[in-house]
């Protein structure tokens, strides 16, 4: 029983970061109707950015994110403005293009960093916390959980209470009408895309401490993120975060009860099972 409780707590903590990755996917989708299939690869790029900054300057990943986040935001801005925005009306084309980007980023990383696993040490390495008297968890997971929800709260405030947020929601609801009342749709999309890249950099720094990183993990993270993204109805940000928790719990609980790789299959099975009963996602409205 204790093992189950510990697994659930761990799943909730790790799942919040999965939710954060999915959230940045959902942000892009909600203003532009597209999905970047190189999303996970961009995050792995951020992880290797943290690795490089550690190797050269000895920076902790929690500090280097301050450099990585603006860098990836600018890179994504350029990528989106010149490669994706001109064809953003054709969804299938964007999928193909970002799949091609996935190839480029992944192999660029392989070329530069080689095919070995790397580690980025952080201040929290090996640090554990005891919750109640039964659950022992890594402090880095707890930090991820808190950071995720603080970041989400800031984001919801930004979207709900500011003029920028109002223009984002206007573009999400009806881009043409938003343009008619004077919202600069293209610019709003670009700002949101850069913002979501910065969020991605934060999730990379949260995930990087305490785990080994590899250049070819990008697709895996894309898929881990797409499950909460779909379950959350693709643009409902709060339910995407909650769905991330579900996927995280499915992963940790699966790994407790099933040995070896099959444990990793549990989140996917849960995902498909939910889609059988709720094809539009857990919280999505049926159109």
């Amino acid at each position: 029983m204790d093992i189950l409780l510990q697994a659930i707590i761990q799943g909730v903590l790790i799942g919040s970061t999965y939710g954060l990755i999915a959230l940045s996917m959902g942000l892009i989708y909600s203003v532009s109707g597209i999905t970047n299939f190189a999303h996970g690869d961009l995050m792995v790029l951020c992880m290797f950015g943290a690795y490089t900054l550690f190797a050269i300057l000895g920076l902790d990943p929690y500090i280097s994110v301050l450099l990585v986040a603006p860098a990836i935001a600018i890179a994504t801005f350029v990528l989106y403005k010149y490669l994706i925005q001109p064809i953003s009306s054709q969804q299938l084309m964007v999928i193909q293009l970002t799949l091609g980007l996935m190839f480029v980023i992944q192999n660029l990383l392989l070329m530069v960093y080689g095919g070995n696993f790397q580690r980025v040490p952080s201040v929290l390495d090996g640090d554990v916390m005891i919750i109640g008297d039964f659950a022992v968890i890594q402090s880095s997971l707890f930090v991820s959980f808190v950071t995720t929800w603080v970041l989400a709260a800031v984001l919801f405030w930004l979207l709900g209470r500011t003029d920028f947020g109002r223009s984002v929601r206007a573009v999400h609801q009806n881009a043409r009408a938003a343009a008619l009342v004077g919202v600069n749709v293209g610019r709003t999309q670009l700002i949101v895309v850069s913002l979501s890249a910065a969020i991605l950099a934060v999730s990379a720094s949260l995930l990087v401490s305490g785990r080994a990183i590899h250049p070819s993990e990008g697709l895996h993270y894309t898929i881990v993120a797409l499950m909460p993204f779909v379950l959350g109805g693709m643009s409902n940000l709060l339910s995407i975060l909650i769905s991330g928790t579900i996927i995280g719990v499915a992963e940790t609980v699966g790994n407790v009860y099933l040995n070896g790789p099959l444990g990793f299959a549990v989140p996917y099975l849960v995902f498909i099972l939910i889609l059988i009963f709720r094809p539009q996602g857990l919280f999505g409205a049926r159109s």
Binding site: F103, V230, G260, L262, I272, L275, P279
Partner: protein
């Protein structure tokens, strides 16, 4: 339109057969590339039935290819079941999974992106299940020793067998695609692709048509997987059952022109050897560089020729005709 399809199909068949004759006379390294190219042409054509003609970007076809590659080999090695029985079983299982996947995604109209996302998750699930299943070889894969055939004096080497299978497979997918484009199902699929509302309004059953396309495509992909396994001898789950495989096939097809007969053939025939030769030249100096160049080429072509090579050529020819008139 029909005449155009007939010409391209006939042209494709002739090209495939001619390629076979030329290939059998080539040195082994190049005939190996050619055999693989033919297999990938077939796989691209099989995917194109759902992805191109059906207009649904499936990222889960690696499940069918992986099943076709692994199940017959596993049944042969672990249960001593003849290969062809295993191949048939894999095709049946693939068609069932394909039908299930269609039911999951086409019951309600949830959009193209939804389909791509869900099939990608299914593809990854397939990879994990294969790696976790000891019967299918687990993470270490399966090795099958094939024997050369001999009919009296005539000996057919394993490499030549692969070439024959690859040729037959590529030809089969071309014939099926040709037949499909002329069949009722083909017209229904194209109507649905053009405008789902209008097509359904005149009584086309979306779920049934898309499921039929998926089942045909799944069976062909599974057969292609079996042919691929026979060519490789060693079946590596990280190659045959990984979504990366189907993603590269999609990119080849996208470059050639999605939805046409000629597109997948042209895309693979140009790009696959390009990739292989690039690897041969660059692999020793900088591992990974060949794939970066390859990926960048793909992105550039997708961006500059949105309708692929075939679409680009078609508009060029129309422009020429207009200028002449």
């Amino acid at each position: 339109m029909n005449r155009e399809i007939a010409y391209t199909a006939a042209g494709g068949l002739v090209a495939v057969l001619a390629a076979g004759v030329i290939v059998s006379a080539m040195p082994e390294y190049y005939s190996g590339i050619a055999t693989k190219t033919l297999i990938f042409i077939g796989l691209a054509m099989a995917w194109n039935i759902v992805g191109g003609i059906g207009g649904q970007l499936s990222l889960g076809h690696s499940v069918f290819i992986g099943l076709g590659a692994l199940l017959p080999a596993a049944m042969l090695l672990k249960l001593s079941v003849p290969l062809w029985v295993g191949v048939a079983c894999a095709a049946v299982v693939s068609s069932l999974i394909g039908a299930g996947l269609s039911w999951l995604t086409f019951r309600f109209r949830l959009g193209h992106l939804y389909f791509a996302l869900v099939t990608l998750a299914v593809g990854e699930l397939g990879r994990i299940i294969v790696i976790g299943t000891e019967f299918l070889g687990g993470a270490s894969g399966l090795l099958v020793q094939y024997k050369s055939w001999s009919f009296g004096e005539v000996h057919v080497s394993v490499a030549t067998q692969s070439l024959i299978f690859a040729l037959a497979f590529a030809a089969l997918t071309i014939v099926v695609t040709y037949g499909l484009l002329r069949s009722k199902l083909g017209y229904r699929l194209r109507a649905l692709k053009g405008n789902e509302d209008a097509a359904q309004a005149i009584g086309i059953d979306l779920l049934r048509s898309k499921t039929a396309a998926m089942v045909i495509s799944a069976i062909l992909s599974s057969l292609g997987g079996s042919v691929f396994a026979q060519y490789n001898g060693f079946v590596d789950p990280e190659v045959v059952a990984s979504p990366i495989l189907i993603i590269s096939i999609i990119l080849f097809t996208a470059i050639g022109g999605i939805g046409t007969i000629l597109g997948p053939v042209l895309g693979v025939a140009i790009l696959f050897p390009f990739g292989e030769i690039l690897r041969g030249v660059l692999a020793n100096s900088l591992p990974g560089l060949h794939l970066v160049i390859f990926g960048a080429t793909l992105v550039a072509v997708i961006r500059l020729m949105p309708n692929g090579l075939v679409g680009w050529l078609r508009t060029r020819m129309q422009l020429l005709r207009v200028q002449q008139a």
